[in-house]
């Protein structure tokens, strides 16, 4: 339905009822996505844990096992991050006062929030350390340690950048129009916040 993704031109106010409908639909999609991501990361965590315990490879070193533990930890943290957001989205109160409901929704659908940013920094940073540690011994080329690290970093951050770009494009298509519409309505609702003494009643 094209009207759901509509960004209202300057001077034209978005319809609150349509925006709330758009919001509920987007929340519902996000909730399903969060649940799927939770399940996916739980599967990864269990798989890696199984691999860590039952791996029959006799050449598996103590270092490899520590790296395995780190992967399990990363997947578990990611799973619980998505579970937390799934539960938070499930508990959204659409019966709250309209303005606070809209303001909370706008915060929820912003691209980056402090909580999300810290999670991303932690996961990306920690994964980078573990991946570099694991791969640096696997590269057989006659390179110096610094070259090996730089090559790994180049590959890792290329993949991460592409992932962020895809994530941003999805957000721009699906959530940005909603955030803009919410902002317009919030501004409109706050527009009459003028001191009462300006009105002669």
């Amino acid at each position: 339905m094209t009207i759901k993704k509509r960004i209202y031109p300057e001077g034209e106010s978005p319809n609150l009822d349509l925006v709330v409908d758009q919001l509920k639909s987007q929340d519902s999609k996000n909730k399903r996505l969060m649940y799927r991501m939770f399940i996916l990361y739980i599967i990864f965590a269990v798989f890696y844990l199984g691999l860590l315990i039952f791996n029959p490879d006799p050449e598996l070193t103590f270092e490899n096992r520590i790296q395995g533990v780190c992967y399990v930890l990363i997947f578990t943290v990611a799973a619980f991050f998505f579970r937390h957001h799934y539960r938070k989205t499930s508990k959204v109160d659409y019966t709250a006062p309209i303005l606070s409901m809209l303001e909370e929704a706008r915060e929820r659908h912003k691209l980056m929030r402090p909580g999300k940013a810290w999670f991303v920094v932690f996961i990306v940073g920690f994964t980078d350390i573990v991946v570099t540690w694991a791969l640096v011994t696997d590269i057989t080329a006659e390179w110096s340690l610094l070259t090996k690290i730089l090559v790994i970093q180049a590959g890792y951050f290329t993949i991460m950048s592409l992932s962020f770009l895809i994530g941003y494009l999805i957000w721009r298509k699906k959530s940005r129009p909603l955030v803009r519409n919410l902002t317009r309505i919030i501004d409109e609702m706050r527009a009459d916040e003028t001191p009462m003494n300006e009105i002669s009643s």
Partner: protein, 172 residues
Amino acid sequence: MSTREQQYKLVIEENHNRIRSVCRHYAGSSGDADDLYQEILINIWKGMESFRGDAQVSTWVYRVAVNTALTYVNKKHKYLNFNLYWDDGKSRDLVSEDVEDKIQDERKHEIVKDLMNQLSVVDKIIISLVLEELTSKEIAEIVGITESNVRVKIHRIKEELREKVKGGHYDY
């Protein structure tokens, strides 16, 4: 019967007319009004757990009812429609008496209804609550804006309606 069920029953009994009134304002037909009423009851039941008593029960019920109407109406119609009931006298007060003789009463009803449907959704909600004789404080709690903002909005909407009724030319 559990305590929650008893509380729910009591809330519905005490606020039945308020909920019906919101349905009457926003539903297109009596069938729609019944459906909306049922949906509001469901949302009151669901919302009872999160209700912390920070507002009066009647105000909270209005809030749930209005918020439910917001999206419910959208399922049925493209835009939130507002039904204006002229017979109760409250609607007449929205426009001043000096335009009383300018247009006939029944035509004025149609004009005001038409003008009110041109208002933004937030303004429609505020006016519907004014017609329910809620105070600015109660309206502020429902909409989430400040009390003074509510008063400014009511003043502005009434002015707009009066100006349009006075100055417009309508071919009814």
